[in-house]
Structure formats: C-alpha cells, structure tokens
C-alpha cells in the first residue's frame, strides 16, 4: 500500500490574515474616515494611510484580538492626523453658522442633525459622535477603540453633547 502524504493547505500568512479581515470591514472603515472630512478623495487617502500603517503594525504584533476595534482606532488616528496636517481643523468657536433644529422631538439625535453637527466639532470631538450615534457603539466599545477608560468616554461624550445642545438653544433663541 502506498501512503500519499495529504497536501494540507498551510496556515495563512500574516499578510493573508490581515487582508482577509480587512475585507470584511472595509466599508465601515471608509464611512468612518469619510465622516471626518466629508470628501471622497480625502477619505480614501485616510483609509490608504490607515491600511498601510495597520499592515506594518499587524506584522509586528503578537496577536490582534479585536481586529475591527484595532483598525477603527488606526483609521481615527489617521483621520485626525490628516486633518491636522491639512490645517483644516477649526475650533468650534470659529464656526459661523448656527445649528439647525429639526422637527421638535425628545430624542437628541432627532433634535440635532448630528451629521451636519460634525462640521462644528474639532477632530477629537467628532470621534465621540461618530462612534456613539453612527456606528452604534456602546461606551465600553468606545473605551476599547479609544484606549481610555469608560468613565472618561462618558464624561467627554456628555460634555460634547451639552456643547452641541447649548449651540442649538442659542440658535433657537436667535431665530426668535
């Protein structure tokens, strides 16, 4: 009898692992990047930079448990760096137009057009709104992505939200 050694497919290389996992979240990463710049080309630049950095870091890392969370953090950092480099970052006080109140409602998201409100926030602040309202993350997940404590996430998030609400109220008063 002749035994033929079965041809096993080898374990995927780190490059293959990275590529495979990235494919599953590529749209999410693009949308995340897009929210910061609201421009297709710039969002692609950010995703490209994050992919490049992620690939290099993945090769050196012993293991990456939560790939999605890990890559989101890299995209966020790349987006903030991109804005800082482009010197597009403008403090909230510099924005001329007021927040527009939508139809009266009790929900914060319905009250504020948060997608528009992003334009009034500095890059770091945008992150909290995007992660909480658009990617539906819990505070615990946000804490993992941002690598800070859950309590810090909560306090920063509510501070930003209060700032937006205050602007909304001022806008409403001015309209009257």
């Amino acid at each position: 009898m002749i035994f033929i050694r079965p041809k096993f497919k080898g374990r995927p290389s780190k490059e293959e692992q990275f590529s495979e996992q990235l494919t599953g979240i590529r749209e999410k990463l693009y949308r995340l990047a897009y929210c910061y710049v609201k421009n297709e080309q710039e969002a692609l630049d950010i995703v490209s930079e994050a992919t490049y950095k992620g690939f290099l870091a993945y090769g050196k890392a012993q293991s990456v448990t939560y790939f999605d969370t890990w890559m989101s953090r890299i995209v966020i950092n790349a987006a903030i760096d991109h804005i800082r480099r482009s010197k597009r970052s403008v403090s909230i006080e510099d924005y001329g137009k007021e927040l527009v109140a939508s139809e009266p409602s009790t929900s914060t998201e319905e009250k504020l057009d948060l997608y528009e409100a992003l334009d009034r926030l500095v890059p770091d602040e945008k992150t909290y709104i995007i992660l909480k309202f658009f990617t539906d993350m819990s505070f615990r997940e946000m804490a993992e992505v941002l690598d800070i404590s859950e309590n810090t996430v909560k306090s920063k998030f509510y501070r930003i939200l209060n700032k937006l609400k205050a602007q909304l109220i001022e806008g409403e008063v001015d309209e009257r």
């Binding site: 490059e15 990275f18 590529s19 990235l22 590529r26 749209e27 693009y30 949308r31 897009y34 929210c35 297709e40 692609l44 995703v47 490209s48 930079e49 992919t51 490049y52 950095k53 690939f55 290099l56 090769g59 998201e109 319905e110 504020l112 057009d113 948060l114 997608y115 528009e116 409100a117 995007i130 309202f133 658009f134 539906d136």
Partner: protein, 285 residues
C-alpha cells in the same frame, strides 16, 4: 433623515478596493526590504565581534615593520584601486608630520599589492571615507590612533558596513586641509599626505539627513535601503551619527532630491527616514 441614516448612505467608491490593495502592497514591499536589511545587519554585527576577538593579535604578528619603499602605482584624491584579496592584515605608521603610511601583510610578510579599496571625498564637513575590502585582519584601533596623531585630522570614526571582510572609516579633516593618496606596490602601501591649504569661507549646505542614532544596525539598514543613493554617515555634535544623502547649495535641490528618493523607494511623501536640513560646510549636520 437622521444623522445615522445619512451615515449609512455614504456611498462607497469603486476605487476603495484598489486603494486598500495598493496600500497593502506598499507596506509589504517596505516590510520585505526592512527584513532583508535586518538579516544582513545581524550577520554583519556577528562578524564585527568575530573580527575584534579573533584577529587583533594576528595583525601585530603580521607586520612588525611597515616598509616605506615601493613603486608608485597611482596618485589620487578620490577613487579606488588595489586588487581582490582575502584576509590581508592592515597596519599603519606615521612616516612624517601629517603623512601616514598604511601597510598590508599576510602570513607575516608584506603583500605586493594593495587590497581593493575606495576613497570618497566629501565637503561638508571636509572628510575622506576609506573602504578596504578583503582585509579580515584589520587593527582598526591602531589605524585610528595613528590618524588621530596627525595634527590636520579633526576626527576619525569607524562606519558600520554590511560586509564581514570589509572595513570603512571616516577621516574628518580640518578646514582648508587638502590631501593626496599614493598607492605603492612591491611592497603594497597607501600613503595619505595632508597639507594645510587656504581655509574656505563656510557656506550653507542643504542635504537629506536621518535622525541621530548610534553607529550600528539602524544605520546599516538605511544604507541597505538607500544603497543606490550617495549616502554617507556623519558624526554629529552629540557624538551620535546621522545618515546623509547629498550636499546641495539650495533648499529646492535638496527637496527635489527627497521627492526623488521617496519615489524611487516606492513610498509616500514624508514616509522616508530622511528630512531636509541645512548646516554650515565647516560644521557637522
């Protein structure tokens, strides 16, 4: 439409896949280039240790006296000469003020021809870069000590080189010092003669330089990665070293060179280990 709905409807461009693939390819290329350079650097480091431990006594036995006669092969200021050898011992002797004779021997006898060598001359700062090949028995400490004994020499330092049979060192000269190198055969020798000329008025130089680092693996990797460029290592004020590419008279030329280097390396703007810097020609970067 709520913010969340607008977020979910952000259109995904067709190019997204290509952009991400390209970024991975760029990163993969860079990883491969670094890992091959690392392997070579580790091998070189091991060889340097071997060289220091094994070969120093052999040099002292090889040449007790350096012959100072011989037939002139050529006189040069920069360039190269000699022939391929293996395991040649190297020693030096000061033959007159500011003239140093480098002798070569094997099995206790002076060799007839100089081993393969190159000499590069750089201006900012004024320095000579010697590289000898096929010289496994190289008493570098003695060479450095004798060179430092010459009054027109400002500094001498060794360079890491990813070849276990080669030796490279830099002789930094004082401002206005000129030199000639004479190659001899039968017996083999190189004579470095330094002369004080008129001091040159210092001028601003622009070049590409890396971060400061110790002389070692990281610098060797840079040479491996940017080997096709006119790259050299320069000692800086802190006592550490930088890799330098080019010496230009204008910032524009240096910036154009940086773009060219990054393009050739297949990396994006600002992704190389180099930045443009200016320094005075008689000073260290």
């Amino acid at each position: 439409m709520t913010g969340k709905e607008r977020y979910d409807r952000i259109p995904i461009p067709d190019r997204l896949d290509d952009v991400m693939q390209d970024a991975q390819k760029r990163a993969a290329t860079r990883t491969r280039r670094f890992s091959s350079a690392s392997r070579l650097a580790v091998a070189a480091a091991a060889c340097v240790v071997l060289l220091l431990v094994v070969n120093v006594p052999a040099v002292s036995h090889a040449m007790t006296n350096i012959p100072v006669v011989g037939k002139i092969v050529q006189v040069l200021q920069f360039g190269g000469g000699g022939e391929r050898t293996d395991g040649v011992a190297v020693d030096t002797a000061v033959v007159e003020e500011n003239t140093l004779r480098i002798g070569f021997g094997s099995d206790g006898q002076a060799t007839t021809k100089v081993p393969s060598y190159t000499v590069k001359q750089k201006d900012a700062p004024n320095r000579l870069i010697f590289t000898f090949n096929g010289t496994r028995e190289f008493d570098y400490d003695k060479v450095e000590q004798d060179l430092r004994g010459l009054s027109l020499v400002k500094d001498v330092y060794r360079n890491v080189i990813l070849d276990d049979s080669a030796m490279r060192f830099v002789v930094e000269l004082k401002n206005g010092v000129t030199h000639t190198i004479t190659e001899f055969r039968e017996p083999a020798g190189l004579e470095l003669k330094l002369t004080q000329g008129a001091a040159e008025k210092p001028y601003a130089v622009y070049g590409l330089r890396s971060e400061e680092m110790p002389m070692g693996e990281s610098l060797a990797m840079l040479e491996e990665l940017y080997g096709n460029e006119d790259l050299s290592f320069v000692k800086v004020a802190s006592g550490e070293y930088v890799a330098v590419i080019g010496e230009y008279r204008t910032q524009e030329e240096a910036e154009a060179k940086l773009r060219e280097v990054e393009e050739k390396a297949g990396i994006g703007v600002g992704e190389s280990e180099f930045g443009v810097e200016s320094w005075m020609s008689d000073e260290r970067p």
